[in-house]
């Protein structure tokens, strides 16, 4: 019973992280229409940044969050403006942009991964922050996981508030729903897309920092994060924040269940299993509406 409770709480924490990371991706793909395959590399890069800040400068990851997020926002803004805008300009249609962005970010993936390998090597890394056992619902987990979950909820909730209660947020949502009609109501597409891409980048970086407080990671792990975030986004329906949350939690729980009761080596298989089920049963996602 206690094992089950622990699994549940661990699964929820992991799922919350996946949801947060996927929310960033859904902003980039759903609004800026960039299928970013280098996405997971930015999770890992943020994790390394938090590690370096903590071990070298003694900066707590929570303060690190306040440093890394704005930096990631600027970096992703620059990436969009410098690298991706030319692709947007030359693409004759949405399909061509999708292919081009897949290729460009696939290249970027190897550059970022290469830089991290050169800086930090290929070994697994971790650091100890707030690893104090806490009891919750009869399960014992470390405090850092709870803190991470709390911050993920705050960041996700804050983003949701910005999207639903501000003018810019409404513009972002409008582009996600109907990119063809958005310019007709005076929305600056280039600016909105860059903003969404940058905001997505900041969210993913926050995910990386939070994950680094309780998971071991290495420079080659990005692909797995990208894969999981993509599956969550597709499961939840592209551009759908609530879908991300539900699908992320579902994936986190499934993985933790598989890892605890079957074999930790099969978590990616579990991800694929979920993905396949969705592809066959509901290709438009759990909350998606089939296109006309």
């Amino acid at each position: 019973m206690e094992a089950a409770a622990a699994t549940l709480v661990t699964g929820l924490v992991l799922g919350g992280m996946y949801a947060l990371v996927a929310i960033g991706l859904t902003l980039q793909y759903g609004v800026a229409r960039i299928m970013n395959l280098a996405y997971g590399e930015f999770v890992v890069a943020a994790a390394f940044a938090a590690l370096w800040l903590f071990t070298s400068l003694g900066v707590s990851p929570l303060i690190g969050l306040a440093l890394v997020m704005p930096l990631a926002f600027l970096a992703n803004w620059a990436i969009y403006r410098i690298f991706l805008t030319p692709l947007v300009r030359r693409a004759p249609n949405a399909g061509a942009l999708e292919t081009d962005s897949i290729l460009a970010t696939f290249g970027l993936l190897f550059v970022v991964q290469g830089v991290m390998l050169a800086l930090f090597g290929g070994a697994y890394q971790s650091y100890s922050y707030l690893s104090i056992p806490v009891e919750i619902f009869g399960a014992t987990i470390t405090a850092n996981r709870l803190v991470a979950l709390g911050f993920a909820a705050v960041i996700g909730g804050g983003l949701w508030f910005l999207l639903t209660h501000t003018r810019t947020g409404t513009a972002v949502r409008a582009v996600a729903v109907n990119p063809a009609a958005a310019p007709l109501v005076g929305i600056d597409m280039a600016r909105t897309a860059a903003l969404a891409f940058a905001a997505g980048g900041a969210v993913v970086a926050s995910g990386g920092v939070l994950v680094s407080t309780f998971l071991t990671f290495n420079a080659a792990m990005g692909v797995v994060f990208t894969m999981k975030a993509l599956v969550v986004v597709i499961m939840g329906g592209v551009g759908n924040l609530m879908g991300c949350l539900v699908a992320g939690l579902l994936l986190g729980l499934t993985e933790t269940l598989v890892a605890s009761f079957v074999d930790p080596g099969l978590t990616l298989a579990a991800t694929y299993g979920l993905f396949l089920t969705i592809l066959i049963a509901r290709p438009a996602g759990l909350f998606g509406v089939a296109a006309r």
Binding site: T99, A118, V224, L266, L279, P283
Partner: protein, 303 residues
């Protein structure tokens, strides 16, 4: 390609088969590397070129072929091992194809993106839990020259297949699908079946290359066999060469195989960064590939 052109190219391949009699060291190793990528990139372009579905799963099929040899190489006669590798590659590609190719291209990309990693984890799990042995020694009596000849033969077969395909209804169907999938369905093309069929053909060749290359390693484990950089290298070569014509990818394979040879030798620690940069240059500067550039120059349009 016309029959004459195909005959000339095949004769050229036959002439190149003499290489191992001249050198069995550096030049043969380089030729093996080029021949390997020539088959992989051409097979990749055969599916992804006309359909415009970007497959990131080359490493998965290559790895399956290589690992099949690691498991069965000592048990079965060599031709049977190759056959098994091809069959496993075909079965996997059919599974992936039927699950994803009915849907929009993005699902396919996402699915193939993590496929090599998935299979690597599954094979690792199987080895740890069932056979209880990680990693295997590959003891097969195959010389470097034999590897080279097999790759040349595969390349020849692939070019013949491609030439046939270009004139066949299946090839034309894929061309129509690449132009407009909705129209394709409304002229009676079973689009899912056509795409899956070609994906399977292309994947079988990738699995066979993996199997043929396996004896180059004396020791194989899942991490070596399912090395994701193969997907990446093949993709960039095919893109640089251009995917519109059968020999297009070759124009990317030769220069990049040479470049990578230099890069691995001189900058082993920064290989990934440099290759990534080369990749980005190709995507931004040569979107139609070298063969696309040449075609435009021939037509007299500004390139």
């Amino acid at each position: 390609m016309s029959n004459t052109a195909l005959a000339i190219v095949l004769a050229g391949l036959a002439a190149m088969a003499a290489l191992p009699f001249l050198d069995t060291g550096f030049w043969l190793a380089l030729a093996i590397s080029i021949a390997q990528y020539a088959v992989l990139a051409t097979a990749w372009a055969m599916f992804s070129g006309p359909t415009r579905y970007v497959s990131l799963a080359t490493a998965a099929f290559f790895g399956i072929g290589a690992y099949t040899v690691a498991v069965l190489g000592e048990v079965l006669p060599w031709p049977v091992v190759l056959l098994v590798a091809g069959v496993i590659g075909a079965v996997l590609s059919l599974l992936v194809g039927f699950a994803t190719l009915r849907l929009s291209g993005v699902y396919f990309v996402v699915f193939t993106f993590g496929l090599a990693e998935l299979i690597r984890q599954l094979v690792t799990w199987f080895e740890v839990n069932v056979t209880r042995s990680m990693g295997r020694y590959v003891f097969v009596e195959i010389t470097q020259a034999q590897i080279y000849w097999q790759l040349l033969a595969l390349f020849g077969a692939l070019l013949a297949l491609g030439t046939w395909l270009a004139r066949s209804r299946l090839g034309f169907a894929l061309h129509v699908i690449g132009e407009d999938e909705t129209v394709a369905r409304h002229v009676g093309i079973d689009t899912a079946r056509a795409k899956v069929a070609l994906f399977a053909l292309s994947s079988v060749f990738m699995a066979l290359v993996g199997a043929v290359m396996a004896p180059r390693w004396t020791y194989l484990d899942p991490a070596i066999a399912f090395n994701p950089s193969i997907s990446f290298t093949v993709l960039i070569m095919a893109l640089l060469g251009g995917t519109r014509s059968l020999l297009g990818p070759l124009l990317g394979v030769v220069p990049l195989a040479l470049l990578f040879e230099v890069l691995t030798a001189r900058f082993p620690n920064h290989f990934s960064i440099l290759v990534g940069i080369v990749f980005l240059l190709v995507v931004y500067a040569v979107p139609q590939g070298v063969s696309g550039l040449l075609a435009r120059l021939r037509r007299g349009a500004p390139a």
